[in-house]
């Protein structure tokens, strides 16, 4: 299932399911790619519901970050559980992604850059 997608001003918010693994990473990547191709390259990724993410899932996030930045945009992560935060920190991606406590703050921060 592709992630849930909805606009919030200039920002596009994606909410993922419980698992972000090899089966889910492909549809997730495609959906984010589509948004970026449509010129919506400020992405807030809500990982709140995610309980399991493997390296394929992490790849989808990283690849979208590269795509978004190449298009002049950016990606922020919100809703990280303790487990997801560990996955991100072990990969030292906490220095690469912008991390925010909640969606509203992330949308405001990314949107400000756009204004």
């Amino acid at each position: 299932m592709p992630p849930d997608r909805r606009p919030a001003g200039p920002v596009e918010v994606f909410t993922f399911g419980v698992r972000l693994d090899a089966a889910e990473a492909g549809p997730a990547r495609s959906e984010m790619k589509r948004a970026i191709a449509e010129g919506r390259c400020l992405l807030v990724l809500d990982l709140g519901p995610v309980r399991y993410m493997d390296s394929s899932g992490l790849f989808a996030l990283i690849a979208s970050l590269k795509d978004a930045r190449a298009a002049g945009g950016d990606v922020a992560l919100v809703g990280l559980s303790r487990e997801m935060r560990t996955v991100i920190e072990v990969a030292r991606l906490d220095r690469v992604f912008a991390l925010y406590a909640d969606e509203a703050t992330a949308v405001a921060a990314l949107g400000q850059g756009a204004a």
Partner: protein, 396 residues
Amino acid sequence: VTDKVLVVDDTLLNRRILQELLRRHEIDVVCAESGAQALEMMVMERPDLVLLDVMMPEMDGFEVCRRLKADCDTASVPVIFLSALGEVDDRVRGLSEGAEDYVAKPFENAEVLARVRAHLRLRRLTRDLQDRNKQLLEKQERLEEDLRAAADIQRALIPKRRDAVPGVRLEWLFEPCATIGGDIFCATRLDETRVALYLLDVSGHGVPPAMLSMMVAQSLAAGSDLVAHRTRNQPVTVASPAEVLAGLDRDFPLGRFDRYFTICYLVLDLASGRLCHSSAGHPSPILVRADGSVRTLDEGGTVVGLGDGVYAEGALDLAAGDRVYLYSDGITEHEHVLHGLFGPERLVSALSRHPEAGVQEICRGLRGALDAFGGGRAPIDDLTLLAVEYLGPPAP
């Protein structure tokens, strides 16, 4: 190909009627006048279906059917009973002997023909399915053979012996969760005194990450420009861990193979015990000193492939008996359904609890602890760990 039906009946007239009916509709017919003859003809004629009379002297139709169904050569041939006994009990008995269908005498030609055709069609479809299934199984077997061969090639890239590098003792766990995986590690001599140690983990599972892992291993092999420069009549210039990781980040951008990888890379000077290290998005190596004290080697940067190419580097001095453990996240993320992940704390404890034990014993103990924690559940990621014990400077 014409279908062939074996008609078994002790009455000549019945055999004739059925023979003529089926032949008129282009079905081959062979006849037997007793149960014993029918069993013989099954072997010689290999019919596609049997029309079987119930009431026959000596061996009745039920007995013939039981024997056909008990023999794996004939069990799949459909049997249709044909008998004046129209009682429910007899039909049930016929079907419980394994027959496919039942037609009561006196029969309508059209009904016999329709039932025969239906069962012949079913038999053809079943056979096609079985053939295709067999082909799939053969193909699957060939694929698995290829995978095992590929895994052997990958395995050829890791050290062959525990004492492959003088000055250190190596020990490892290397268990891809499928036949082949994206983890690989190595210990290679860079020059007279220095050794490179690394362990890497390519994102995803299966063949593509395995192939990429081998490609990266090749670019890190002894003699590669990435790890050491050689100029004529000059001593070898060994690249620092940060330089090596920056080189990999340049050579393996994310988009090239649609994957990233994580790696820890260390250079150990065997003469001095100096250890330089850097990790790219990889779990920090764990240093367990001979006295049992523990620290992690955290310096580094993010995963390889983002193109940032900035990696911090750490350095420290090893003494004889100090051990460094490199591992991939399959170990710490080994899962128990209820108790969650094995986690770094349990790993550190398994590696440091018995500093007096040999590295081999410690690796075996860790494997046991993983099994005990997971409740024997098969790992869902590769389990890879490389233990390196520094044996001290070589004797002068």
